[in-house]
């Protein structure tokens, strides 16, 4: 998918006044955060459950290499084919070749963030392969050619009349309707036909269990189950961090993932697959291909300051609670991941130089860290990014500070150690701001919508000295 992280400010400005985005953001996000609270309260000891989840994720990532090898061994023992993809291109090529080898005319997909990151749909389109997204939201935005608005509700902001229009135009719907149930039925009719003749289904993976070699998916529509059980060939793509050690760990993380994402104790469908169909089994794919994709994550892993981001389980709790996301929605983030987790993953995967506004536009309010069931300290990593960017970090592609930024910080740093210099400088600054500041862009940014209090004659220090 296209990277549009550099138009963050412009996109945000648009979204702040976009009525259909506002409707969703103002009402639905606080509801999602509230149902999360209710969901968590169904644990006998909610905080202990959260702490356990954080420990599981910390340990899973701590033992990443070993667990992945165990997973590979057990998945292969169960009959799956495992492919290690170093880059997104490697993963895309593997899928393309598989499709071409079997002369497959079209594929169906379950909603997955990883294939957004890979840009798989574009690659397959270029190959002449039709791709049908089968998650309702993902299906809608695919037809509209829009990026996902939210990782759990990719089309949650799209009004029903727009869905009606595009369904009539591109999904064979005959009579216009804005009834959500009828629209759902239209999508169902269209996709059911695709499912009937499908030969290859592609899904993501919510969790991979090392001790059993199983992959787990959660969903509410049943389309992923279709993608995993109906075709002859199933391809499931996972990033390396999806691993957990044991089924017991996986079950606890499932309880966490669902409660944190949608407030549900469990989603309507949970599928656990261990290998393809066995000889004595009725259904399931004949071939199961599991692609384990790195795409820059080993580098994230190598740095102890960034490793923590791999603990993420993509529940979306941080997104729903983020005050900035609640104002601007998902589009400004400009790539696969949005909200606080997007502020971490996009810069790490794309480079700090192209994503300055993602980690810049944060008030460091700590709401994300507070809710994260995976134990990620987003604000600290955001501060780390700002530091690495100023330091022109080679590995993370830091831009470096501008002359005036560095000059200001250096001067302040020195003045801060000399009270006389500091007090004189801040007083001069105060007087200058009061006298000449009105035209300065920073002052204007404040005073356009907000008043600034009159500058008092005396500082507290002066008052106290008397």
């Amino acid at each position: 998918m296209d990277v549009k992280t550099e138009s963050y400010v412009a996109e945000a400005k648009k979204e702040l006044v976009n009525p259909s985005s506002r409707m969703f953001l103002d009402f639905f996000l606080p509801v999602l955060s509230a149902v999360r609270e209710i969901g968590l309260s169904s644990f006998p000891a909610p905080q202990a459950a959260v702490e356990r989840a954080r420990a599981i994720r910390r340990q899973s990532v701590g033992r990443l290499g070993e667990l992945l090898e165990t997973f590979e061994r057990n998945a292969m023992k169960a009959g799956a084919k495992v492919f290690w993809a170093k880059t997104a291109a490697d993963a895309n090529m593997y899928i393309r070749d598989l499709i071409n080898r079997h002369k497959i005319p079209y594929v169906t997909k379950g909603k997955s963030m990883i294939t957004e990151e890979m840009g798989l749909n574009d690659v397959l389109a270029k190959n002449g392969t039709s791709v049908y997204e089968t998650d309702l939201g993902e299906f809608i935005i695919q037809l509209l050619e829009k990026p996902p608005f939210h990782i759990i509700g990719p089309a949650i902001n799209i009004p029903t009349d727009e869905i009606c229009r595009i369904f009539m135009e591109r999904a064979g719907m005959e009579k216009p309707t804005t009834d959500p149930v009828a629209l759902g039925q239209a999508a169902r009719d269209f996709l059911r036909d695709k499912f009937k003749h499908m030969q290859l289904g592609i899904t993501g993976v919510n969790m991979a269990v090392a001790e059993t070699g199983s992959i787990i998916n959660v969903e509410n529509e049943g389309n992923i189950r279709f993608n995993k059980s109906a075709p002859a060939i199933q391809v499931s793509v996972m990033s390396i961090e999806k691993i957990v050690a044991t089924m017991d760990d996986a079950l606890h993380m499932l309880r966490m993932l669902c409660r944190n994402g949608t407030g549900q104790k469990l989603t309507s469908y949970v599928t656990v697959d261990t290998g393809p169909r066995k000889t004595d089994e009725m259904d399931g794919p004949e071939e199961l291909h599991i692609i384990i994709m790195d795409n820059g994550r080993s580098r994230i892993y190598e740095n102890p300051k960034t490793r923590e981001v791999l603990q993420c389980i993509r529940c979306g709790a941080c997104i729903n609670i983020c005050p900035v996301f609640r104002q601007i929605g998902g589009y400004p983030y400009g790539w696969a991941y949005t909200g606080p987790i997007g502020k971490l993953l996009n810069p790490l995967l794309l480079g700090l130089d192209r994503t300055t506004d993602l980690y810049g536009a944060c008030t460091l309010c700590n709401a994300c860290k507070n809710v994260c069931p995976a134990g990620i300290d987003h604000p600290s990593m955001i501060l780390y990014f700002r530091n690495r960017n100023m330091k022109q970090d080679q590995v993370l592609n830091g831009k470096g500070a501008t002359f005036s930024e560095r000059f200001f910080a250096n001067t302040a740093g020195i003045a801060g150690s000399y009270p006389i210099v500091w007090n004189t400088a801040t007083k001069i600054g105060k007087a200058a701001a009061a006298r000449f500041g009105a035209d300065h862009p920073l002052v204007k940014a404040w005073t356009e919508k907000r008043a600034f209090p009159p500058m008092p004659k005396k500082t507290y220090r002066d008052i106290r000295k008397k």
Binding site: A12, K13, L16, P30, P323, V324, R326, Q327, I328, G360, A361, C362, T363, L364, C365, N366, A367, K369, N370, L383, F385, R386, N387, R388, N389, M390, A401, E405, A409, N410, A412, G413, I414, A415, G416, S417, Y418, P419, W422, N423, T426, K427, K430, L442, A445, W446, E448, K449, R450, A451, F452, P453, M455, P456, T459, Y460, R461, I463, R464, K465
Partner: protein, 246 residues
């Protein structure tokens, strides 16, 4: 007799000195001798949040030197307290002796309301306020320092004050230091949403413990709802009946 050193953040010293005066007054009223070390400068949060960790270190070194010999340092700002308490120790991972000093100071610095409730063990400060009060849970007090019950206990204990519920009380007001001028559109949208909740709460006054939030919220109120205002908790507690609602 308790003794406390006052750490007065730059925004208070330069723009809102009334908050420092009020904090001093309340502490004195509660029997605390206050000291104002006049060689104090700034905690360095502003450069730190921009990513200039090395420069923040020189602020931290000076700060530690100024304040480390006091048993208690009291500050009327959550984010400046959090900078010293939670960030300073992480700045000196490569300097064990400085790290030790930072960690020691970290146990001795208190946010204003935290000091009154947790150290002095006082809730009734003798404050009088006739009216409904909403409380804004400033991010760094609430989530960085875990301070939420203390200011609310102080408000509840004020004579005549009725603490009322405010929706999304713990959502950021959109200040965020440089954020407010670097991303003014998002910041404005956030403060607008905060003020909407304040107005809906039916409160006569909005009390909070963070000078940054105060500048932001009052700045917006003055333009759009000049009859309403927000007040720092120190100013609120300094009230002894001369002020009746808004």
């Amino acid at each position: 007799m308790k003794k406390a050193a006052l750490f007065i953040p730059c925004s208070v010293n330069l723009i809102l000195p009334g908050i420092a005066g009020a904090a001093d007054l309340v502490l004195k009223r509660l029997g605390v001798t206050t000291v104002y070390p006049d060689n104090q400068t700034c905690c360095g949060q502003m450069v730190y949040n921009k990513g200039f960790f090395d420069q923040a270190k020189s602020f931290a070194r000076h700060f530690i030197q100024v304040f480390e010999n006091f048993d208690a340092v009291v500050c009327p700002s959550g984010s400046c307290t959090a900078m010293v308490k939670n960030r300073y120790p992480t700045l000196f991972d490569d300097d064990p002796s400085m790290k030790k000093r930072a960690e020691l100071l970290s146990t001795r610095i208190f946010e204003f309301s935290e000091y009154i409730v947790d150290v002095l063990k006082i809730e009734d400060t003798g404050a009088v306020f006739n009216g409904k009060v909403a409380y804004h849970e400033s991010c760094h007090l609430n989530r960085d320092l875990g301070i939420s019950a203390q200011p609310k206990a102080l408000i509840r204990a004020a004579k005549g004050a009725q603490l009322v519920h405010m929706n999304n009380a713990d959502q950021c007001c959109g200040f965020g230091g440089e954020f407010s001028v670097a991303y003014p559109d998002i910041s404005n949208a956030l403060v607008e949403s905060k003020v909407k909740c304040y107005l809906e709460s039916g409160a006569d006054i909005l009390v909070l413990g963070e000078p940054g939030c105060l500048l932001n919220i009052n700045g917006y109120l003055e333009r759009n709802h000049p009859e309403k205002r927000a007040m720092h908790i120190a100013e609120f507690l300094a009230e002894q009946g001369e002020h009746h609602g808004c």
